[in-house]
Symmetry: C2
Subunit: 197 residues, 2 copies
Amino acid sequence: MPKQTFFNLEPEKRQAIVEAALQEFAEHPFEQASLTKIVDSCGIAKGSMYQYFSDKLDLYLYIVDLAYEQKKAYVSRAFDSEGDIFAVLSEYYRLSYQFALDHPLLHQVANKFWDSRSPLLQTELEKGRLSRAKDFARVLAESMAEGKVNPGLDPEAVFFVYHAVGKELIDHFHQGCDDRFLQQVLDVLKFGLAARD
Amino acid sequence: MPKQTFFNLEPEKRQAIVEAALQEFAEHPFEQASLTKIVDSCGIAKGSMYQYFSDKLDLYLYIVDLAYEQKKAYVSRAFDSEGDIFAVLSEYYRLSYQFALDHPLLHQVANKFWDSRSPLLQTELEKGRLSRAKDFARVLAESMAEGKVNPGLDPEAVFFVYHAVGKELIDHFHQGCDDRFLQQVLDVLKFGLAARD
DNA sequence: CCCCTATGTGACCACCCAGTCATACCTACG
DNA sequence: CGTAGGTATGACTGGGTGGTCACATAGGGG
């Protein structure tokens, strides 16, 4: 968590720091991101950064959280949308893609975070995964109760699959992602590989 | 490609180098792996390494290739196994898991390679992805011809989904992976989320 | 005016890195 | 023996890193 000093800053200076950090963390994973470059690029002294944040990790987690919260706010309307679970999921990924287009830096930061392997980040990662799983589980449980979803499936396995595909989809956003392909991927998940009678 | 000098080495020395490198690259992605640690841990001089490999990347690609080839050899029998595509896929992931247990270092090296983002590695990554896609496409095409597979699906989207889920599964091998869960994940892919009549 | 506190600063520290190179070593051949 | 070519070596270079600290600045209250 940033120190109080950080929040005492004039907003524009705070913004400059956030933007410089976003830029760096969008480009490099935590370990390879350079604090030196961040302070250089936003024109503050190295020492000042340590008035605002206790260390590099503190800054990183603040930035990731910021990106993640913005994404959540952007994308969560999908869960309120009408229609069955398939409509919700389709909307969810469509919004995720839109977010990536609208806020490329935030998108990349959040995205890079998901494939961090540093032990320092494992607890944070697990926290994020759980929060996602909860939203998903709710929608899935509703649909299962309504009988629209294959009742033989294990909810955990379903979440696992959607999480995996979602990650990969989002990874591929940078190569563009026409709606048609997105729909086809969702169809694979919806109808399954086995032929239907 | 290693230099000739490397292949002139006594096999046990070569092996020591390979093992030290495997250890380091299993633990850290390319950029964070330390050549210095590798040479220290196998007891050769820094300069010697540059008699064998032109640079760090050269060594890395050699090691990754080695890991990848061993994995391919181990896992490819799945494609020769009898039964429909679902049996093949099940066997494929079972073998992948077995490989991870039998050769944890090779597994981790190959696995870390897949989520490299370094521009230096993009062409190599694409090569690997294509080679995997080809094997998969063959089996899929056969099954589609036989009518066992949902004909409405886009083969590219199918591969995309399986690639994503496979990556995530393999990522989670280190947490253990009972056969039951694996089967349930495959069922999600096989039967799809939508209820069947 | 001074003092006190909060904040800004950048030279500096200790460390780590990939890659180089002059030198030494080791054989094998003439 | 000498010499030539392949190989081993590790001190060294130049560059990067996160983090620190003694000092400078600023502003408010007495």
